[in-house]
């Protein structure tokens, strides 16, 4: 029996093989969204726990990578939803390990505040599309929506960021 068939049938050894083979990729995807290694590790385990519980619904002829990435995206999105109200950025930001001389500390603080205030599903696409430069197609596949929906969400996220930054007396044209 093939590995994926054994996994779908509930074979723990097959699951371990899949886990060990895909944990780095799943972690790598999640850490790009949540940007915290400890949380990303927990969410990687959570993702595989969801995978393990749903194994009976997995089609062994299907694409395990795509399925795992979709579940990982949902786990990361759930985390963003849970922690949105807690995402209060400290007034005293830690010093940037690689400070960009072209951008002032206050500017970074404003942008981070505006970014943290984005609704989770917009923050997800904004992180992946704008910061990580992931293609709309890949984001769409991972989020379970069409590429045009991703494009609209990126557009709206940029608009929301601009509004939020305007509220914080920050204009994009004249940075600060």
């Amino acid at each position: 029996m093939e590995l994926l068939e054994r996994f779908a049938a509930g074979d723990l050894d097959a699951f371990e093989t899949l886990f060990r083979g895909h944990q780095r990729e799943v972690y790598g995807w999640i850490v790009r969204i949540v940007r915290d290694s400890g949380i990303a590790e927990d969410l990687t385990v959570e993702t595989f726990w969801r995978i393990y519980r749903s194994r009976a619904r997995f089609d062994p002829k299907g694409n395990f990578n795509a399925w795992a990435r979709r579940i990982a995206t949902n786990a990361a999105l759930d985390h963003l939803r849970r922690t949105r109200s807690e995402t209060e950025l400290p007034e005293d930001l830690p010093a940037d390990p690689r400070p960009d001389p072209a951008i002032a500390r206050e500017t970074r603080l404003s942008v981070r505040k505006a970014f943290a205030a984005l609704p989770p599903k917009y923050r997800l696409v904004a992180t992946l599309a704008l910061i990580e430069e992931e293609s709309y197609e890949n984001i769409a596949q991972a989020a379970g929506v069409s590429a045009s929906v991703v494009k609209v969400r990126v557009f709206r996220a940029v608009r929301m960021l601009r509004k939020q930054l305007a509220c914080l007396h920050f204009s994009i044209g004249g940075k600060t």
Partner: protein, 74 residues
């Protein structure tokens, strides 16, 4: 909104939001996964299944006459 605005926002975000720390996984997470599996049975019994079993048990105690009928159906 023009592409320029999106491009500017992209640059601003990249320079303001911290890069992903530890982009590579540095340890094997399988022990944690195994703990999680051990903590939770793979097919947990739902509360309504327990309620149904309790109801059935109580019915058997109160009306022992239904036991043969239940045995016949099982």
């Amino acid at each position: 909104m023009s592409d320029l605005n999106e491009k500017e926002m992209r640059e601003l975000l990249k320079r303001s939001v911290d890069p992903s720390e530890k982009p590579e996984l540095e340890r094997d997470l399988w022990p944690q996964m195994l703990q999680r599996i051990d903590r939770h049975p793979a097919t947990p019994v739902a509360w309504f299944d327990w309620a149904l079993a309790a109801l059935l048990g109580a019915a058997c105690l109160l009306f022992p006459g239904i036991i043969p009928a239940l045995l016949y159906h099982f």
